[in-house]
């Protein structure tokens, strides 16, 4: 889909990533890159290592081999705190919201890194704390408007239906003002309308904020529609990489999805 965005240079370059859990190889020698402002999809059958890939990018898992170059800095692996500081936001396959907190508090938590006052100042709710809380609140309200969830801002997230929870989780990631957003199956388990809404939000985020997006998705229609480039994983190995059209025609990809005798 072309909407006149300027796709920039490579900001994330993964080189020869291999990840093992004990004897199980989750990822084997995977290399691919992500360009600024693009929407990059990772697809593949269940168990192909897609989520592991995202976990490597934002430092939840630490690969045994390979290098990660993000914004020109070369690392062997990421750590989560560093990734958050560098502006990598993330949603999860199984919703990972803070269930006991309201929508508003979930989003406010997404802005915790921006808060500079310490716990003592917060205990006394002195000047800087109150000012900061109000600043963050108005930023968060901007996201609430953007995602059209004003009516549920004070509802505990545990009580929300699944589709809305997914939206709140996107909101929490957006509250970090990420430059790179990792979305793990943002549309899984949604009905058609909810999917359309979610697609719209993803495209808007990409378009309005210029956020680079890496997403995992099973709905091929959606993937082919919204992504600029697609990387295909199967059994922890990369089998194809290219534009949606290139990938669609790739024989290995067709085999992986339809299944052939190995």
């Amino acid at each position: 889909m072309s909407n006149g965005r300027h796709i920039g240079d490579v900001i994330l370059d993964l080189q020869n990533i291999s990840l093992r859990f004990g004897g199980v190889k989750a990822l084997t020698d995977i290399s691919f890159n992500v360009r600024e402002h693009e929407i990059r999809a990772i697809i593949g059958p269940n168990g192909a290592g897609k989520s592991s890939m995202l976990n490597v990018i934002n430092g939840v898992y630490h690969p045994q081999e390979g290098t990660i170059v993000f914004h020109g800095r070369k690392r062997h692996d990421m750590n989560t705190h560093e990734a958050a500081l560098q502006g990598i936001g993330r949603t999860f396959q199984n919703i990972a919201l803070f269930k006991g907190m309201s929508v508003l508090d979930n989003l406010m938590t997404g802005r915790n890194l921006k808060i500079k006052s310490n716990f003592l100042q917060q205990a006394f709710y002195w000047g800087p704390t109150r000012r900061e809380e109000l600043e963050q609140r108005s930023k968060v309200e901007g996201i609430i408007d953007f995602l059209e969830i004003e009516h549920i801002r004070k509802t505990p997230v545990g009580r929300l239906p699944y589709g809305l929870q997914k939206r709140v989780e996107l909101g929490r990631a957006l509250a970090m003002e990420p430059t790179l957003l990792l979305l793990d199956e943002p549309m899984a388990g949604m009905n058609v309308e909810e999917k359309q809404d979610m697609c719209r939000f993803i495209l808007d985020v990409n378009d309005q904020f210029g956020t680079t997006i890496v997403l995992i998705e099973h709905d091929m229609g959606v993937v082919m529609d919204i992504s600029d480039r697609v990387v295909v994983l199967d059994y922890g190995k990369k089998i194809a990489d290219g534009t949606p059209d290139e990938v669609r025609g790739n024989q290995e990809v067709i085999d992986a999805y339809l299944g052939v005798a190995h």
Partner: protein, 361 residues
């Protein structure tokens, strides 16, 4: 109809972010504070002030401390009494070893309490360190280590108790601005002020970034990490703040309630009782800490009166205390099954009912 927030529009985020945004809550809090500050000292008799209200307040503070750690940050602790002991002995040693405290000598006692709190916080941080690697039951058992170690250390190293036998200490007199705080009324007010201030600070912490980080770690630690919350830092802060509260509570327990304490007094049983307070009062609720403490302190007194009425004054020896144990245990199970969010949740349901009252819908 009495409790309606309809028509109270918030024109700014500032108004919406107040500590008590709803007008009725503000009035209720003002009335409650006025009652406890102005009415109780006048009408309360000596027994009530000394033997009931002061311990209720002190245990409320300890329960609040545990609630910060367990209710907000999600780290179960079974060593609350040990942190209280650290606070009590810390304050005692501060008073003992700083005879000519150079600055602020008028309020030396307050510094002693803060010092006690800080010592408890230090112990809390040390025993909170394993929380990075272990969680849940494992951590709960680790806090038991704190419980046994602290009591052992305070008993064995008699330096802590100024070389008294079996670690017994007698708290020094409480004097503020040259005025001795020794009557039941003044002690009650003194404890009340400290507890109110600390409760307010706790409420502020849990409604700002610190509290959100705690709750985030409690609800979903991986997601919290990905947002950029540092787990160890957040957990240790919870341990430190929680233990500080417990430490101050322990100091008040020694200085304003019992006067004479020994390390064995801060045993596992006491830790459990404080845990029961937050279960019954409400896990993750500042208000619940107070309700739970009141409930657990008042229950044995109530039961005692009840038994005397039933057995006409001749309670069989031992039966009372054993029935008390059974009722305690039974109540815990009952609350966990029926209302896991405790009395605080019942309070909330009551408010929601009031909102509609007297109409059914």
């Amino acid at each position: 109809m009495l409790y309606r927030e309809a028509g109270q529009f918030k024109a700014s985020y500032r108004e919406d972010q107040q500590i008590f945004p709803i007008r009725q809550d503000k009035i209720a809090i003002a009335l409650i504070l006025a009652f406890f500050y102005l009415v109780v000292p006048v009408i309360g008799d000596q027994y009530w002030l000394k033997a009931i209200l002061v311990p209720v307040l002190i245990f409320s503070l300890a329960a609040l401390g545990l609630n910060i750690l367990t209710g907000y940050a999600g780290q179960l602790s079974l060593g609350t009494a040990a942190f209280m002991a650290a606070g009590a002995f810390g304050a005692f040693n501060f008073m003992l070893r700083m005879p000519d405290f150079p600055v602020f000598s008028e309020v030396k006692i307050l510094f002693a309490f803060i010092f006690g709190g800080l010592m408890a916080a230090l112990v809390g941080i040390v025993f909170g360190l394993p929380s990075l690697r272990i969680k849940g039951f494992y951590l709960a058992v680790a806090t038991l280590a704190a419980q046994f170690f602290v009591v052992w250390a305070l008993t064995k190293f008699s330096w802590f108790s100024n070389y008294s036998s079996s670690g017994v200490i007698s708290a020094q007199d409480v004097v503020l601005f040259g005025v001795p705080i020794d009557t039941p009324e003044s002690r009650y007010l003194f404890v009340l002020v400290i507890v109110t201030v600390l409760a307010l600070l706790a409420k502020n912490m849990v409604r700002s970034a610190t509290g959100r980080a705690w709750m985030a770690v409690r609800d979903m630690d991986v997601a919290a990490e990905v947002i950029g919350i540092r787990l160890l830092h957040t957990k240790l802060l919870a341990f430190a703040v929680s233990s500080f509260y417990c430490g101050v509570a322990g100091a008040l327990y020694a200085f304003c309630y019992l006067g004479t304490v020994e390390p064995e007094g801060f045993n596992l049983d006491m830790s459990f009782r404080i845990l029961f307070m937050i279960i019954i009062g409400g896990v993750g609720s500042v208000l619940g800490s107070f309700l739970g403490a009141a409930f657990i302190v008042l229950l044995p007194i109530f039961l005692n009166v009840f038994f005397h009425a039933v057995f006409a004054g001749a309670v069989p020896a031992g039966l009372g205390s054993n029935l008390e144990l059974m009722i305690f245990g039974g109540l815990i199970i009952f609350f966990l099954i029926v209302e896991p969010h405790g009395l605080a949740r019942l309070w909330q349901i009551g408010k929601e009912k009031l909102r509609l009252w007297p109409f059914p819908h």
